[in-house]
Amino acid sequence: MELMTPLFVILCPAIAAALILLSRNHPNIREAWTIAASAASFLLVLSMAPEILKGETIKFMLFQPMFKGVYIGFKVDAFGEIFAITASSLWFLVSIYSIGYMRALKEHAQTRYYFAFCLAMMGAMGVALSANLVTLFIFFEMITVSTYPLVIHEQTPEALRAGHKYFAYLMPAGAFLLFGIMTTYYLTGTTDFTPGGIKSLPTASHVILVMLFFAFLLGFIKSAWMPFHSWLPTAMVAPTPVSALLHAVAVVKAGVFGIVRIVCYVYGVDLMHELNLWLILAIIASCTMIVGSLFAIAQDDLKKRLAYSTISQLSYIILGAALLTENGIRGAMLQIPFHGYMKITLFLCAGAIMVATGKRKISEMAGIGKAMPITLLAFSVAALGMVGLPPVAGFIGKFYLCLGAWAVPSPYGMIFLAVILISSLLDVIYFFPIIYTAFFKKPEGEISGSGEGKIKEAPRLMVIPLAITAIFSIIFFVYPNMFYIFDLAKMAIVDLFGGI
């Protein structure tokens, strides 16, 4: 059905970005625009969910270009809706957190920060809602460019280097993506996402299809698969809310989202099987999962460790899609919001610790759990979820991934199941020492002393959002259908496999 809602979802951040520039001299008004835009786009996204659950696909054609078979427009299906809900709901929470964080640290250039943030979120929403690869590419590039000012926000030489690295990875990726899209267009005459794959794609020669698949994979190195991951840990010089939302949710998930789109909606399950591409993708994902976790263990900087954890966890989603089984894909789709909520909690906690204590290194965090109980409790909840233990949402995601691996009708399935379990074990190894250090290790000096040196919780504007995301991580376990997530995933599976 035709609805204007997707357009409004995109316009909210766009208008907010303009208003932010206009009200640059009034911080309160400026930040109100961010919150208003994020709340509005969340509600708009959520309002589409009931329609989609009825089996409708919401379409809106923006314009018809001169070349035939392609249009610039939005088509919201269940999978896109899941990503949109994740991104917009977390954007709302993070914009509240941003205010606390930026003000507490008295950061410079806050207008630029909020402006770029709005544009980046506009890009993420656009990626989620876009109807075809061309539209997706436009918003994808928008994310890349608008995230740059956020990555180099500190403007130190280190930050600038990180920014250059960021571009050095993601801009060539954009070129590969454009190449892939145009090749698809020339092979099939369309770039629309079709559940089960574009119909006329399998007629092309197999060599070209395999090469095209690699072009797409290189195009989506936003998902930080190894060995093209190193921009992500470097980009952690950005302010924490940026790392939290963009480098745990919006940017990297956009990359993963793209890969799932390619696997399930461009190539399709049958073609992936026929070309054995699923195996290649699954092997890449498995290596990234294990190696990413091993790298994470070696990090002492909390944000860096979280970054490598993100790299590893994103590959769970890729693996789930690569397995090409109903439960695997469902696990991948569920893991997008679940991992989003849990990882953002971890990042927000890291930011809160940094604001309250100024500490970045895990080894210095001995004993802070007593001084900042809420933050560290939230951190522990999310870490449990990362490992995949109940009662946190991560359990459900990983459970379905395991079911998916189990259902693979070849010996490889067992191998991938083992990989998931080993990687979870590694998650334990790098998360639990943090919790242990924070709660049980005796601080070397007198950390929680009295007077000025006393460590308190971070400002309320920061603690409340991170508590909410932690609580939601648990709610998703108890009631996975929160925000219609579970039904939407089921809906997407029905679209892909034609009924269960």
Partner: protein, 508 residues
């Protein structure tokens, strides 16, 4: 057949522009403040006239005007189809913005006593550009070409000092180009006995085998390529663009070279045919590869530059390669011509904006070296913002105008089956990113000391006159608006008219 008023517009635009130039010389003797308003008013009227022409061409058909009532093969004929009118509208619009920009710029860069000559020559150059765009006669085109070029030499030299040597280089190279062109025209004339485009197109196919005709074609193409600084014939250009007055480098980069390119397009499609180029001399792939080398070489040289204007000059060399690549691909795919036509507009607005900001930066802050640009984003917020948007357009990030060009060219390469160019285009986008982003980095993100004094910053931010800020902001916003328009099917009728008027035989 009743003669419509709109059919008189071509000759009005050209004739009155020239008349105005000499009137300005007289008026300037008494009051030099009147010159700019005069020129501006007339060119604004021209814009209205050209829009009427465009409308007429799209709804009724090409405009033909016979000078002095002489019938075409004997007299000079002005033929204006969709391509001419499209280019004319672009040229006039950019010229108007350039004139507005010149108000603030000339006061700073041109000595008081030279201003009368400056504006008179500028108006003459504009007249020459209009003439090339409007005419339908090969020799008449040479006259206008010389008017546009000779005035350009002088306008560059007006800056004095370091501009003299580049201007002299340009005189030499430009004259050689003009010689090549006129030799080619003479040879064709000696074979066919006509100078009229339409007439030649009818007569030439009979003598495509003739070596003189083939040689003539090559000479004309090389002559025009010197003027349009296609790599490796570009050597005169970087110095000229660096040292010319900012208004002139803006106009040279955005419209002068486009009009030169238009001659090439006319030669390819209206005088000769793609059949000739492809099957009789087999130049089309050579043109594509020359363009590809130009694209890469221009970008690589641009990366090495530290002077902003010089960097933009090399960037222009690279961007001309885009247009040439589009033209070269057009025998195989109509999208090539679409890309070339689109890039004429996209590069005009993008590069115009960039040269305007470069001029503004050197005028207000006295900065030319990119390494000194730290903190410019705060000192000159509007100029920096305009620069950033135009640079993003040059890099080709959606939804800007440059992206449309890149997309069309990639479609054309796929359509033509010439896959190496896809890789070259994508690589070129990345090279553009390298040299443009360096500037943006310096402007906004580099550490700098002297902007702590907020009051002083506000003070200097105001010192750029509105007459300079407005044109560049207009062009910057056009980069986005035009980029979005190219992604829609709004330009489809125009494009199809251009394709059919240039007799490509296909529509899209």
């Amino acid at each position: 057949m009743p003669i419509l008023l709109v059919e008189q517009f071509p000759v009005l635009i050209v004739g009155l522009s020239m008349f105005l130039a000499y009137t300005m010389l007289l008026v300037g003797y008494f009051n030099r403040k009147l010159l700019l308003p005069m020129s501006l008013t007339w060119n604004s009227i021209c814009l209205v006239l050209s829009l009427f022409m465009l409308n007429h061409v799209l709804t009724v058909g090409p405009i033909r005007y016979w000078q002095g009532g002489w019938r075409p093969p004997w007299g000079i004929e002005y033929v204006d189809d969709a391509m001419n009118c499209y280019l004319l509208v672009i040229v006039i619009s950019i010229v108007i913005l350039g004139l507005i920009y010149s108000k603030g710029n000339v006061e700073h860069e041109i000595e008081e006593k030279k201003r009368v000559t400056f504006y008179v020559l500028l108006q003459l150059m504009i007249c020459g550009l209009y003439g090339i765009t409007i005419t339908g006669d090969l020799f008449n085109m040479f006259i206008w070409l010389e008017i546009a070029s000779l005035t350009a030499y002088a306008l560059i030299a007006v800056a004095g000092g370091r501009a003299l040597r580049p201007a002299f280089n340009y005189v030499i190279m430009g004259s050689i180009g003009a010689c090549f062109y006129i030799f080619g025209v003479c040879w064709i004339y000696s074979v066919t006995g006509t100078l009229n485009f339409g007439d030649m197109r009818l007569l030439l196919p009979l003598v495509y085998d003739n070596k003189a005709v083939q040689m003539a074609f090559a000479m004309i193409v090389v002559g025009v390529m010197i003027k349009a600084y296609i790599f490796p014939l570009h050597l005169w250009q970087p110095d000229v663009y660096t040292y010319a007055p900012s208004t002139i480098s803006t106009l040279m980069a955005s419209v002068h070279v486009k009009v030169m390119f238009y001659i090439l397009i006319r030669m390819f499609y209206s005088v000769f045919t793609l059949n000739f180029i492809r099957h009789f001399i087999g130049l089309d792939m050579l043109i594509c590869w020359v363009a590809a080398i130009a694209i890469l070489a221009g970008s690589l040289w641009a990366i090495r530059q530290r002077n902003l204007k010089r960097m933009l000059a090399y960037s222009s060399i690279s961007q001309m390669g885009y247009i040439l690549l589009g033209v070269g691909l057009s025998p195989l795919s109509p999208w090539g011509l679409v890309a070339a036509v689109a890039h004429i507009l996209n590069h005009a607005i993008g590069k115009g904006c960039l040269f305007m900001t470069a001029g503004a930066i050197s005028q207000q802050e006295g900065l030319r070296d990119i390494r000194d640009f730290a903190g410019l984003g705060k000192k000159m917020p509007y100029a920096s913002a305009a620069f950033t948007i135009a640079a993003i357009s040059m890099i080709g990030i959606p939804p800007t105008a440059g992206f449309a060009t890149k997309l069309f060219l990639i479609i054309a390469s796929f359509d033509a089956g010439q896959y190496p160019f896809v890789a070259i285009l994508l690589l070129s986008g990345l090279l553009n990113l390298v040299y443009f982003w360096r500037v943006i980095d310096q402007m906004y993100f580099a550490k700098h000391e002297d902007t702590e004094d907020v009051g002083a910053v506000k003070e200097t931010a105001k010192s750029l006159p509105l007459s300079m800020t407005a044109p560049m902001l207009i062009l910057a916003s056009l980069c986005i608006i035009v980029g979005i328009i190219w992604l829609t099917n709004i330009p489809l009728p125009l494009i199809n008219h251009i394709l059919s008027n240039l007799r490509l035989g296909v529509t899209i």
